[in-house]
Symmetry: C2
Subunit: 315 residues, 2 copies
């Protein structure tokens, strides 16, 4: 049997999985990233993870290793530049170093772009030539699929829809800018916004679901409350979808796109969030695009990182 | 001698010019567009203009006719869709109809894209492979040059940076959206904004340059005042550059671009405006792009429309 190894490189954990060409995850493991040490330590951990997977599939043929990485990725040699939260990592040839450590073909892509490739090859984007993939998690990532390929821009850094300003006078974002959509809907900002508003919504069942200091206020709690019909929770998704829709409409206008695939942890909110994104985009995008707008939920869920990375090899 | 005819199709006038391959305008005429009648009437006027130019160059060889048109343009057959302010014009094969009327090769592009091609072939973008052209006039247009070609998107409508939302709660734009950058810096909106603020700036010399009802408050007046050191006028360009810079930074993040060419009537404001755009973009764009940001003034000025259209043929 042929298989691919997909590696999802995160700041805390590296997840690696053996994936069939039909996008079935055959085996999956997770190891610490050691991102706090240096790039070489991270490569060591990737090699450990890859070896563990390989041991399980000794009699099978490894087609290649795909890595989804934070930061700006240069396809030539798999160079990864300035991934946030990785110590001592400026510009590092992750692809080549990994290939030297473990052998075989290694392809590296930015994680948001890899997620887009995953949806294109295995998920909601299957058979489509043009769409925007937006990933809602700790940050807000994006990947533009144009004519069946990821649009990478001059140096491979394209797709950063998370840092689209939706209010020039808005809250400060982690990136240094003000009013980025990420500063409204990135997980940390979203939780804080809910927490601030919760005080004036004593009727919301979210109050019963979080602990006193609000430390556990994760998107899942808002979704649980929304699913039970909690009005405040539904209003939060409505508002969150509006913020996202504003940035998405701007992106669709510039790229002349009409289909959006929404993934990442926060997207698990599902219909209340997606409906609000759709309503906002249809209201705000230029009129020739309006009738064509489609907002789809990503199909690859928990293992989207591994599957997206594996999709880099799937051709 | 070989020459090209460049046609700048506007809602009020059609400008047509004979252009050498070295981007020299040899002869130029202007006729009414008759856009208030129907598309056939417009083609008739284009044919009249082209014939007048041809008569002057009887002994020379016409290489082709380029047309810069408002609306979304499909390169196949030169179809122009829904140009704003053209009566009875839904979807019309402008290229084919013009070619039938006058003979010869006809190429049609969206006017903002044609402006980008003009700068790429003849102007500030010469020798560059990747840049954003932003056109500041009645509206705010854009053209993205990627790898030496105009990025057209799924249906040729890409580049609409003017309808990037810079404040989701901002003023209503002509397009139906709220807070588009065009709703802050499009010529009409800009004049209104200045007029509103002028009341509380009796010291500004702009007060002496406009008539009582402010009807003549054109960008040139703001520039004249700014050139004389008028603080209020300089503050207007500072603020205008900030609005533009916010939208430009979002665009550069998504496309991974670093060079911007600024054209159109409002761009004649020059240094005070461009400096403010640059300052804003450098402050707001993602950090890997910051050191590379370049904001350039367009080189093709008054005849940019004719030269951009001619550039469509210049290959």
């Amino acid at each position: 049997m042929n298989y691919i190894i997909g590696v999802d490189l995160g700041g805390t954990f590296i997840k690696a999985g053996a994936v069939s060409k039909e996008a079935e995850i055959l085996y999956e493991i997770s190891v610490p990233s050691r991102a706090d040490i240096n790039p070489q330590a991270v490569v060591g951990q990737i090699a450990n993870a890859v070896e563990s997977v390989r041991q399980r599939f000794k009699d099978d043929r490894l087609l290649g290793i795909g890595i989804g990485s934070p930061g700006v990725v240069d396809l030539d040699g798999g160079t990864v530049k300035y991934p946030p939260n990785f110590a001592g990592w400026t510009v590092f040839r992750l692809g080549e170093e990994t290939s030297e450590a473990v052998g075989g073909q290694v392809r590296v892509e930015n994680d948001a772009n890899a997620a887009a490739v995953g949806e294109l090859k295995f998920g909601s984007g299957k058979g489509m030539k043009n769409f925007l993939m937006i990933t809602l998690g700790t940050g807000v990532g994006g990947g533009f699929v144009i004519d069946g390929e990821v649009f990478r821009g001059e140096d491979g850094g394209a797709g950063e829809i998370g840092h689209t300003t939706i209010n020039y006078d808005g809250p400060r974002c982690n990136c240094g800018n003000y009013g980025c959509v990420e500063a409204y809907v990135g997980q940390k900002y979203l939780s804080q916004r809910v927490l601030d508003k919760l005080k004036s919504h004593p009727e919301s069942i979210i109050n019963n679901l979080v602990d006193a200091d609000g430390e556990k206020l994760e998107p899942k709690i808002i979704s649980d409350a929304a699913n039970k019909g909690d009005k405040f929770a539904l209003q939060i998704w409505e508002e969150t979808g509006m913020y996202i829709g504003v940035a998405v409409a701007s992106a669709l206008n510039m790229f002349d796109l009409s289909t959006v695939v929404v993934g990442g942890g926060v997207a698990k909110a599902g219909k209340p969030l997606l409906d609000s994104i759709e309503k906002t985009v249809k209201k705000r995008v230029l009129s020739p695009l309006r009738p064509k707008v489609k907002i789809l939920q990503a199909q690859l869920k928990n293992s989207a990182g591994i599957l997206g990375a594996a999709a880099l090899i799937a051709d």
